[in-house]
């Protein structure tokens, strides 16, 4: 039988409704798991145990007083979760994994954590990340690297590495990450969990330490697709505090029972499979595509722009926006001064300063924004003929620690299969689809702008027919 910390959101809710266990018990199980295993994994920066237990106790009282009907109003009541440390939580440390913000206690609440709080979720703590989210391995955290729970000599991916590693090692029931270009899908893939990157503008960025403001997208990391959809239901929607959040009405994202892949067209971009993919990754993804075919989907070979252009676009835009966003960190109003920036942050600020400076703006920044137009219309044209795109999430399984220092473009090259959809603002999801020597492989779906529902339906159907998402590492 599963331990309480190993349950999914839906399993915990069922247990609460049947009175089988309490939120305090689930919260304690997660806190025990953290206390036993996080010395090894290093997924957390801040532990919030006292507050978490108090919140859990309050949740139990509410459930007892009101009964199961309370979950209609508070859909995550009593569910313990962890949150990436770039989300501002009032009264708690919000470091973004950086020395600059090492002692920064947020005086306000991000919209995402505020919504989760309102929905009754219990915050266990904040997770490690590449400093300011600048990386794909969590090694550039100014504090310590997080380890991959499947093999602690390997990286968990990044920048939401702490959040993905925590879910994979059952330290929480779900977690929150954020993605600018691969930072949810990447670590979800390498840690063998489900990571949903919603469309840009679907989830409010208010209170998230800004990285690249034109692509930053908060999203859930969970043990299955059904849970990811359930969390998205809570965090999605227009926010007056984020002018870029979309006023489009949100749907009920939870998967429907009678969804079928019959007559469904899934595009398979040649340029995403012709890159230097690890042999095993290609095999596992091809096997997954076969399963989709057997489920009734029509797989269509298609052309998309070579992802190398998206990497170049992403690199210019991300660095440019970083140089602007991090300019506010002057050590006067909050945080330490600029001498505290790590090397990776400095490198990115410098490149962005260069690409935005007069004389180079047209050649780099403006050029990148024009190519972004091509990328966006490339996807729009593709989606006239297909319903969804399938691809690997990452070109390889999680590498050992220390690789990222070897190339100035390491993160971008690892994220090359998610950066095109990121610069176009499209939603994407990574779900586990197999293992190579005990290391998980991620399958990616990319959807039309604001069509999270289709991603969720298809990936949920895949999980209903497979067991890859049920495997967890033994620590």
């Amino acid at each position: 039988m599963k331990k309480l910390n190993e349950l999914t959101i839906h399993e915990v809710l069922d247990g609460f409704k049947r009175g089988e266990f309490s939120s305090v018990q689930v919260t304690e199980a997660c806190l025990n798991r953290i206390s036993n295993e996080d010395k090894k994994i290093k997924a957390l920066i801040t532990l919030n145990s006292e507050n978490a237990l108090a919140e859990a106790k309050k949740a139990d009282d509410e459930i007892e007083k009101t009964g199961a009907v309370i979950f209609e109003k508070k859909p995550l009541l009593g569910i313990p979760y962890l949150c990436k440390d770039n989300f501002s939580v009032k009264g708690l440390l919000t470091t973004a994994g950086s020395n600059v913000l090492k002692n920064y206690i947020s005086p306000f609440e991000s919209t995402v954590t505020g919504k989760l709080k309102k929905a009754g979720a219990v915050l266990l703590g904040k997770t490690n990340m590449d400093a300011f989210a600048h990386g794909s391995t969590t090694e550039t955290s100014d504090f310590y690297p997080t380890r991959n729970p499947w093999d602690t000599h390997r990286v968990p991916g990044g920048s939401s590495g702490g959040s993905a590693a925590a879910v994979a090692s059952n330290m929480c029931i779900f977690s929150i990450g954020s993605e600018t270009g691969g930072s949810i899908r990447g670590p979800a893939s390498w840690c063998g969990v489900t990571g949903l990157k919603p469309s840009y503008g679907r989830v409010s960025r208010y209170g998230v330490v800004a990285m690249a403001s034109s692509t930053d997208s908060p999203g859930p990391i969970t043990k299955n697709v059904k849970d990811a959809a359930y969390v998205l239901n809570v965090i999605a929607g227009k926010d007056p505090k984020d002018a870029t959040s979309s006023p489009l009405e949100i749907e009920n994202y939870s998967p429907t029972k009678n969804f079928s892949l019959k007559g469904f067209k899934i595009g398979k971009p040649k340029s995403y499979f012709n890159i230097n993919l690890e042999t095993g990754v290609k095999e596992k993804v091809e096997e997954a595509i076969k399963i989709l075919k057997e489920m009734g989907a029509e797989i269509i070979d298609m052309d998309l722009l070579d992802p190398k252009y998206s990497i170049a676009v992403y690199t210019i835009l991300q660095r440019s926006e970083v140089s602007s966003n991090l300019a506010r960190l002057d050590g006067i109003r909050y945080g330490n001064d600029r001498t505290q920036f790590g090397f990776e942050a400095k490198k990115r600020i410098m490149l962005g300063t260069y690409t935005l400076s007069s004389g180079y703006y047209d050649a780099y920044y403006s050029k990148a924004q024009r190519v972004r137009t091509l990328i966006k219309s490339d996807f729009e044209d593709a989606f006239k003929k297909i319903d969804l795109i399938v691809a690997p999430s990452m070109p390889c399984v999680a590498p050992e620690l220390g690789q990222s220092e070897k190339s100035s473009m390491y993160g971008e090259l690892m994220d090359l299969l998610s950066e095109p959809s990121s610069v176009a603002g499209l939603p994407g999801i990574s779900i586990p689809c197999g293992f190579i020597e005990n290391m998980p492989v991620g399958l990616q779906f990319i959807g039309k702008f604001f069509d999270e529902k289709t991603l969720i339906e298809v990936s949920n159907l895949f999980q209903e027919g497979t067991d890859f998402h049920k495997d967890f590492p033994s620590l």
Binding site: N103, Y104, I105, P107, F108, Y200, G201, S214, P240, A243, T244, S246, P247, K308, Y309, I311, A312, V313, T315, I316, S323, A327, D330, G331, I332, R333, Y334, G335, D337, R338, T339, F341, F343, K346, K347, I349, M350, L351, T353, Y354, S357, Y364, S366, K367, A368, Q369, R370, V371, R372, T373, L374, K376, S408, M409, A424, G425, F449
Partner: protein
């Protein structure tokens, strides 16, 4: 590489513009930043003479907030993380010399 995109002098200039201390890292930054600039030259392969820029993907323009009371930080909250304050104001280093 002799024809680096970003010379050591340029590194120092950019660091100055970005208010960063890069002493001891100039050589390394010149190499790494030049590598990256070298990589992104690939964009030249694409003709963009007929397309405009996509600064944002949502298409939303002129988004305004309701002109009504909204939550705001108190003065104490706003100052709570400041390195220094003077009579309830942020204290900064002098910008101008007397």
């Amino acid at each position: 590489m002799s024809d680096k995109y970003i010379s050591k002098e340029e590194v120092k200039k950019i660091a100055d513009l970005a208010n960063l201390d890069v002493s001891g890292e100039v050589d390394k930054l010149s190499t790494l930043l030049s590598d990256t600039i070298g990589y992104i030259q690939t964009l030249k392969e694409l003709d963009t003479s007929k397309v405009g820029e996509t600064f944002q993907v949502t298409g939303l323009t002129s988004v305004f907030q309701d002109d009504s009371d909204s939550d705001s930080l108190t003065k104490d909250e706003a100052l709570s993380n400041a390195s220094d304050n003077y009579k309830g104001l942020f204290s900064t280093k002098p910008v101008f010399k007397r």
